[in-house]
């Protein structure tokens, strides 16, 4: 063998060895895929789920937090006392908590964060969470007292939202682009349009995370997302946009497919006050014309659970009311004839830009409605158009949206909400629920609310979105379910 060739052979061998080395070492980084890029990184100033998907529990923390099973756990508050009348909550904060810029987190920061969210000029997208708070006092640096105007059974739950995280007065204004929180990861960089990088916070007050680096990459195109997984560019994609490829990924020993539950009730809203939909017979007829399983199979590749009301089946308080609106085209036709629409009916159907449930699901629903004599005029809208025309303008007959906020039954009681559902009995239940703190009574009220919506055909309740994700088989500790839209990486680690 001549010398240049031998040199080449050695070089090739060395390169092979070098590229094999990282595989042997324990990995401490993760590349997570996301469909949408967050517009900003401040969870208290925008509604985009993508914000929480990056920063919730990773960068920012609240007094309480959601666990993967949806339960409420202590976070910055290690414990709390609730007064007899339910009007005073005293939170005891963890000692030695620091923001990523080195400043101390104390009761004054809690007071500041809540008052900032409540303020007149606040741009907090979930401002109603803070509605009943009369005052926040810093009793001492580690004790905060909240006074409420009326008892609130949801209070600890409300404080767990990403919109209620604790921020510092020194850094709050810049959190949109340079988030400073108290979490186990701190913000490193954001290449707009491409990725956000986080690194382990060495001064974290709680259990330190095992990952040293976490990168969130924004890959919206389903084909590109699949390619990025297959090429090994991504280690996990918790809300995978290409459900049709999940069987293929599942069959590959490198990957694990994770199917969990979400808080996303997919609902076909019917403009409740606008004729002919103000007639309960017409609404009931539409409900009986819908074959839920066909939509789940056709639009969602089989992922999803049929629901009969506006509540997640994974919740113990869920009541199965699907029988009130089971698939029965004959009954549907009879109801339509009874309501005076035996000769047919035409409705406008506004579809937001969600390829799966809205656009594909909408086509399936349109054909199911046609089978009972209801024609639909489909208009495909962008989100901004949808918000203007449907959500604010109330100019629609039917539309489909998945409502992904946790415990959001109360939106049906809002007078100006796009459902246009106005029902005194329902509003009373929601009002009672806000005061009620006894678990058994709360459960009964929630069930009554569910039944009210189903019996009045407040909307067509289609199915609960499934959380369909895919991850490297050696990766552990990712959230299986989605009690809030987040990618909590605090417990994630690589198998040895």
């Amino acid at each position: 063998m001549n010398t240049p060739l031998r040199k080449l052979a050695i070089a090739v061998l060395l390169m092979g060895a070098a590229s094999a080395m990282p595989a042997l070492a324990q990995r401490t980084d993760i590349n997570v895929g996301m469909v949408l890029e967050p517009p900003i990184l401040d969870p208290t100033a925008g509604a985009a789920a993508a914000i929480d998907e990056v920063v919730y529990a990773n960068v920012f923390e609240g007094l309480t937090r959601f666990a993967s099973d949806g339960s409420i756990q202590p976070a910055l508050a290690e414990s709390w006392d609730i007064s007899e009348d339910g009007l005073t909550f005293v939170f005891h904060l963890h000692d030695g908590v620091r923001f990523h810029d080195g400043t101390t987190m104390d009761a004054e920061d809690v007071k500041f964060s809540i008052e900032r969210a409540q303020a007149e000029d606040s741009t907090n997208a979930q401002k109603p969470l803070f509605a009943g708070i009369v005052s926040v006092e810093a009793v001492d640096p580690l004790t905060v007292r909240f006074t409420l105007s009326e008892p609130n059974g949801n209070f600890l739950f409300n404080m767990a939202w990403g919109d209620a995280v604790i921020v510092a007065p020194e850094s709050a204004a810049d959190n949109a682009t340079d988030p400073i929180g108290t979490g186990p990861f701190k913000f490193v960089e954001w290449v707009q349009g491409d990725h956000v990088e986080l690194a382990r916070n060495p001064d974290y007050w709680g259990t330190p995370v095992r990952l040293e680096k976490a990168t969130f990459k924004f890959i919206a195109d389903p084909t590109a997302a699949f390619a990025a997984m297959m090429a090994g560019d991504l280690d996990a994609y918790p809300n995978f946009p290409s459900p049709e490829t999940l069987p293929q990924l599942g069959a590959d020993p490198r990957f694990e497919v994770i199917v969990g539950s979400t808080e996303g009730e997919t609902v076909m809203a019917m403009n409740y006050n606008s004729p002919p939909l103000d007639d309960i017979r017409v609404r009931e007829a539409i409900a009986h014309a819908i074959n839920r399983q066909e939509i789940i199979d056709g639009a969602m590749f089989g992922y999803g659970t049929p629901i009969g009301t506006f509540f997640p089946p994974s919740n113990p308080d869920y009541v199965d009311l699907t029988s009130l609106s089971d698939y029965d085209p004959e009954k549907s036709k009879a109801l339509l004839a009874d309501a005076g629409y035996g000769g047919g009916l035409t409705l406008r159907f506004a579809l937001p830009p969600v390829a799966t449930y809205a656009r594909r699901g909408g086509e399936i629903i349109a054909s199911q409605l046609r089978a009972v004599g209801i024609e639909t005029e489909i208009s495909n809208l962008e989100w901004a158009q949808w918000l203007e025309q449907v959500f604010h303008g109330l100019d629609y007959d039917l539309t489909i949206v998945s409502h992904t906020e946790p415990f959001d039954l109360e939106i049906f009681s809002r007078p100006d909400y796009y459902f246009q559902y106005h029902n005194e009995a329902f509003n009373q239940i929601i009002a009672d629920l806000a005061f009620e703190t006894d678990p058994a009574k709360r459960s009964a009220l929630i069930k009554a609310a569910e039944t009210n919506l189903a019996e009045n055909y407040a909307a067509v309740f289609l199915f609960q979105l499934a959380k369909t994700g895919v991850a490297n088989a050696k990766l552990h500790g990712l959230w299986e379910n989605s009690p809030t839209q987040a990618n909590d990486l605090t417990a994630v680690y690589w198998e040895e």
Binding site: A125, M230, Q385
Partner: protein
């Protein structure tokens, strides 16, 4: 010449002002409010109002138009509604991907098209020419996003030589950056190279039929010498015009390829801006592209005038 220049400059200014008015009006007419988009389904009306005020969306249209133009003249494009960072920063970040990608694709397409086009023209109607014509026809017909997916399948998923997409940023090093742009540049270059090769071929064939080529051959130059010394140079003029057009297309029109390879380029910035109603970004990027096209036209006009004195005298 001075009169000509003043005339051209005046028309440039008028075009720019007209374009700015059209862009502003069109964007005003688009339905959808950036503030309600950002705050989502659970926001209260007063929160939306607070955000609208913060974003400066409440001022009268005329006032906002002049504020926008005033900013543009000073090089200040405003702050993005969604990202809350200066628009100029967003554009320059994206430009650092779109511009190298466009140049890379153009270089590749030229490197492929020139030899192929010249080779085919020199062997007109031979099997080689017919093969090239067939192949370039295919190159034009194949959608570039589909070709891009095939590239990903072969080089990222099967061979694992390249990432399936994304851009690590130039701070990761020149090699990493160029590597990340390679597959997208190939996908973009293929149809452009096919078009260019065909233009090169037909332009060269036309030139080869000219009298001076016959004269050159009569003077005793070989076929090869005639081709390279006289024909190719003269055939380049229409080809360069096409290259110019392709460049502006590649700069702004690579959006589908940017989506396939999830590259944060200029095209995707506009697309995102439109869906998220980040209108200030859309306005500014479109205006910038209009400015670039008008400037290129202006420079070409001047160049023509320098090359061809007849154009100057007409004015």
């Amino acid at each position: 010449m001075v009169n000509f220049l003043i005339g051209r400059l005046a028309s440039l200014l008028v075009s720019l002002i007209a374009a700015s008015v059209v862009i502003f009006v069109v964007i005003e007419v688009i339905p959808g409010d950036p503030a309600s988009y950002m705050l989502g389904l659970n926001a209260q009306p007063d929160t939306v109002a607070a955000l609208r005020e913060q974003l400066g969306l409440d001022a009268p249209a005329l006032q906002r138009y002049f504020a926008w133009i005033g900013g543009l003249v000073q090089g200040q494009f405003g702050i993005s509604y969604t990202y809350r960072v200066p628009v100029a920063e967003l554009i320059s970040d994206r430009l650092w991907i779109s511009l190298p990608l466009a140049v890379y694709a153009l270089v590749l397409s030229t490197l492929i098209a020139f030899p192929v086009g010249i080779w085919a023209a020199a062997r007109r109607n031979s099997p080689a020419d017919i093969t090239v014509m067939g192949a370039t026809q295919l190159g034009i017909a194949v959608p570039n996003f589909w070709f891009a997916m095939l590239l990903v399948l072969a080089f990222s998923i099967t061979l694992r030589w390249f990432s399936a997409g994304g851009f690590p940023g130039w701070q990761a090093g020149l090699f990493e950056g160029v590597k990340a742009l390679t597959l997208p540049a190939i996908a973009l270059a293929l149809p452009q190279a096919s078009i260019l090769a065909r233009v090169m071929r037909s332009s060269l064939l036309e030139t080869l039929g000219e009298d001076y080529i016959r004269t050159a051959r009569a003077k005793g130059l070989s076929r090869r010498q005639t081709l390279w010394r006289h024909a190719v140079r003269n055939a380049l003029i229409p080809v360069l015009t096409i290259i110019g057009l392709q460049f502006s297309f590649l700069l702004a029109g690579a959006i589908i390829i940017e989506n396939v390879f999830f590259l944060p380029g200029l095209g995707r910035l506009v697309f995102q801006g439109i869906t998220q109603r980040d209108l200030i970004v859309v306005k500014s990027v479109v205006m910038l592209l209009v400015f670039a096209v008008i400037m290129v036209t202006f420079i070409v006009d001047i160049a023509y005038a320098i090359a061809d004195p007849r154009l100057r005298r007409q004015r």
